[in-house]
């Protein structure tokens, strides 16, 4: 790997709209792999970076359904097959009484699945990341808006990228080599 393929250029903005615009243009020009860092979720930014779907809802649905099905099966199996209790001749498969536990376990599994899925998709927890090498990032990341162009391929041209970023009037452009 050459030096430039590990490098990234980070532009710092004070305004979210300027960042979204810069991201859209950088993507259209195909400058490199784009990442943005903001103090709060900026609407339309992830889309500008080319991210359409999060994938989280599917995980939630799948975990919830699995949890609910297992909870119902557990109750059914124990009440009908493993430990049948005849209470006044009432049916062993008394499904209405199984609803609350099924419901609660569905919610529990869906919620845990959402959090775990969210962390896995975001590759978190993570102790360090190259972006933290950006000067002042640790002090400013919760007030400023950052666009990072990562040099992941051989075609990455730092000079061209820097010129393109500076054309968007950022407050600073940093060259970061991890």
């Amino acid at each position: 790997m050459s030096q430039s393929s590990k490098m990234m250029l980070v532009a710092e903005f004070t305004d979210p709209e300027a960042l979204v615009e810069a991201a859209e243009i950088a993507r259209a020009e195909g400058l490199g792999h784009l990442e943005a860092y903001t103090p709060y979720p900026v609407e339309g930014l992830a889309e500008a970076l080319g991210m359409e779907k999060t994938g989280v809802p599917w995980i939630t649905l799948l975990c919830g359904l699995t949890g609910g099905a297992l909870a119902y099966f557990m109750q059914y199996y124990s009440a009908v097959h493993d430990y049948p209790l005849n209470v006044g001749g009432r049916p062993l498969h008394s499904w209405p009484a199984f609803v609350p536990v099924t419901f609660e376990v569905t919610i529990l599994c869906a919620a845990i699945g959402t959090i775990v899925g969210l962390l896995l998709l975001n590759r978190l927890p993570r102790l360090h990341h190259p972006i933290f090498e950006t000067p002042h990032f640790d002090k400013r990341s919760d007030t400023r808006f950052y666009l990072a162009v990562e040099g992941r391929t051989e075609e990455f041209d730092p000079v061209k990228v820097r010129a393109a970023l500076e054309a968007r009037h950022p407050s600073a452009v940093w060259e970061v080599t991890p």
Partner: protein, 441 residues
Amino acid sequence: MADVSTTCEEVNQRLTGIPLRRPLTKNWLAGFLLAFMALMLMNVAIGWLLIRGVGIWGVNIPVAWGFAIINFVWWIGIGHAGTFISAILLLLHQQWRTSINRFAEAMTLFAVACAGIFPLLHLGRPWLFYWLVPYPNTMALWPQWRSPLVWDVFAVTTYLIVSLLFWYLGLVPDLASMRDRASKTWMRRLYGIAAFGWRGSARHWKRYEMGYLLLAGLATPLVLSVHSVVSFDFAVSVVPGWHSTIFPPYFVAGAIFSGFAMVLTLVIPVRHFYGLKDLITSRHLDLAAKVTLATGMLVAFGYLSEHWTVWYSDEPYEAYMLTNRMFGPYALIYWVTIACNVVIPQALWSSKVRSNPKLLFLISIIINIGMWSERYMIVITSLHRDYLPSSWGMFEATFWDWATYIGTFGLFFTLLFLFVRLLPMISIAEMRKHLVEEDHP
């Protein structure tokens, strides 16, 4: 007009400043010590209970539920406002929740922790609590799935875990802010690890927002189900005054009612002592008071419905239960309940009362007392005289009942005092977004 970065910086400075830079004050220390002493009282009470057994409480036959269940229902009800504020108001796009949701969620967690203690201690042999959980065991036994008491275990455990996840997920970006602003290395490391290395990536935010929304969607039916399940503990029985279909909605309304009262009780002093009156404004108090009034009216309707059902059913045991509640040995509790939950909250119709924090604080305390009396009334008066006069009895709380109850206040407030010292009590990331959108439409 300030630019976006300046707005963000102001929010960061103020909200991270409270845990990071504010010196230890005498007020905080005094409050914390008082709470901590009460917590120690709880430990003593629990210790004595483990040595001697539940006989140290006033519970006996016929009143076998006593303080344990009263306090359980009361505390868990208080928790409901937190989830209501953070989940339901989020889904309804009520922007004002931003100022109070973190605090209310913390209140929920601590209240549920207090609530959970009571049924566990009430088991008799609390160290065998895991028998409630289905697990492969040498006794080859399963929990009784048809019992609301087992449903309760699942409902309360789920509620605690989901509330914790929801609260923590909201905290992650703020912990990253705390990390960036902490001056000492060990603090930076601690907050950094707690923040999972959050760096505010736009893709992460997108998934985060989706996940947060999904959790809110999951917590909404959950919060309605928890107090419904708690009410099944009563409603599924055949005891006069308990066996009623109105119980689930009436319990849920009561829970949110008492929870909002507790939010007011806590938020009014906090915003005063921490100078947050511009973030938690009189508008927030006004809206919280309106929700309190609305849910209070639902509770009043529940009372009305109970009385009407008794009259309409023409059932002698139900009729006796009601006259006993109103004029029997526990009549005082009944009238305190009606006064605190139905009569006095009517003052909230007046906008003058709603804009007066001192009065609101007073009313919120009264409602807290009223809701505790309501649970006392439901648990005790129904149990102490049921079908057979030969098995009637009286309940009297012992010193250890009160010690355990007061002790849980110690747990609650100790956790709350630590929370305001160590973590941002208002969501910084949400506040940034909220204020930027307000300043730069």
